[in-house]
Point group: C3
Chain length 176, copies 3
């Protein structure tokens, strides 16, 4: 190629190369199956060299809370909410067929029998692959979730504008 | 830059400048928490200068129905459906922990105690910031929702092709 | 345009023309309303000339299972799971107001009265319009879903990396 012209095909290739290959995932759901899917996509994308950000909000915050952590909230209402919404990735229900835990329990048995990683393992893998974890400060305030009840390795506590600053640079932007 | 050549970096910059920074959100869910998240993202993006379109369909139509509006449908089946699906953003349940309204009531108390805006306020803010509201005509027909039962300020009644025409121009396209 | 120069506006036009106009939809949900929405978007996009891929995972696998097909799994746990998750697009519940099938039944009556296509018809239309169907191998293994219990016309059995390879080339990437 001479430096004085630029073929469209080349322009396109350059652009595709320079375009940041980003994935953002808003994890609002606290359902076992949806959270599993979020982590499978996140770890898959990170393994393919894409830059991945997970933004945990509402029930999704449970996924990055320490096992058994209760709310640090002082007032009664938020403390009740914190209890309902008791922490730990090991306690998420299925979005369907919960049957007082039977559905989730069954799926976990099937997964372990088939040697599939659980949510805690996938979360660890995500961390190792450099997936960014952001905890939503708006929901933290609302549900009375304090920083010290979160797992180690949460990269940022931030609000919606931080999420959007990432999402506008990517094209695989999922809401789960 | 000479007019006879174009550096890839320049092409990229031009392109990024001219690319419309759009957000589209399909609001199918009528769950309080998911709808809250939709409005928080929509208002956040609009405040950052992005062009935002919300497409309300299925249960999401409730979010833009007038408080207490019942179905305008003539036939019994659709009227029953309209009752089940009774209008108004003040009546949305949580996706989890509904407990006959206890969960939603508790979350609303916590939000008002923490001076957080509710859905009606966020919807108003979205309107003020120029977020486009589109009501899905397919679902309106199915659920017997008529134009006069919707809130003022809905920009368009339209179908999926109008949504897709917006979405294909953007990159932050969420389904909630 | 002379072959020795390329105006930014032209570069942009070229790029927009050459950019593949892709839609990917992860269908995790098995809820009647969400699946309906997935197919309405998929068929709408394909009709507009966009390239559409649907990736069926978890409960979404039911949508592409043959009517009445039970799990081919050998072990008890997965067979139980297969039963809970009994196949066929005709059996999906609504995400809200299920009422032991009343809600879904009512919506189907309203749809047929208004001459709206059901999920099986939309799925057929999607196939005719060239929408790609991918069944998630990870979930198939977990739920004991075998290839022979799926409908004809599933294009690929594949994992998350195949999904991501499509999604990273598109900009309308939805998770339903």
């Amino acid at each position: 190629m001479s430096p004085t012209k630029l073929e469209p095909a080349v322009a396109l290739a350059e652009l595709q190369e320079s375009k940041p290959d980003r994935v953002t995932i808003v994890v609002l759901s606290g359902d076992f199956d949806r959270v599993m899917a979020a982590f499978i996509i996140a770890t898959g994308a990170a393994a393919m060299g894409m830059q991945v950000t997970m933004f945990f909000t509402f029930w999704g915050l449970n996924v990055i809370r320490r096992e058994g952590a209760t709310s640090g909230a002082k007032d009664l209402l938020r403390r009740m909410f914190g209890l309902l919404n008791k922490g730990g990735a090991g306690r998420l229900p299925l979005s369907r067929f919960h049957f007082f835990g039977l559905g989730t329990g069954m799926m976990k048995k099937v997964m372990s029998r088939n040697r599939m990683p659980g949510i805690a393992e996938l979360r660890e893998t995500a961390r190792d692959l450099g997936v960014q974890f952001i905890a939503c400060t708006t929901t933290m305030g609302m549900m009375g979730v304090t920083k010290d009840t979160l797992i180690e390795g949460v990269d940022q506590l931030a609000g919606v504008s931080t999420y959007l600053a990432e999402a506008r640079q990517g094209n695989v932007n999922l809401f789960i």
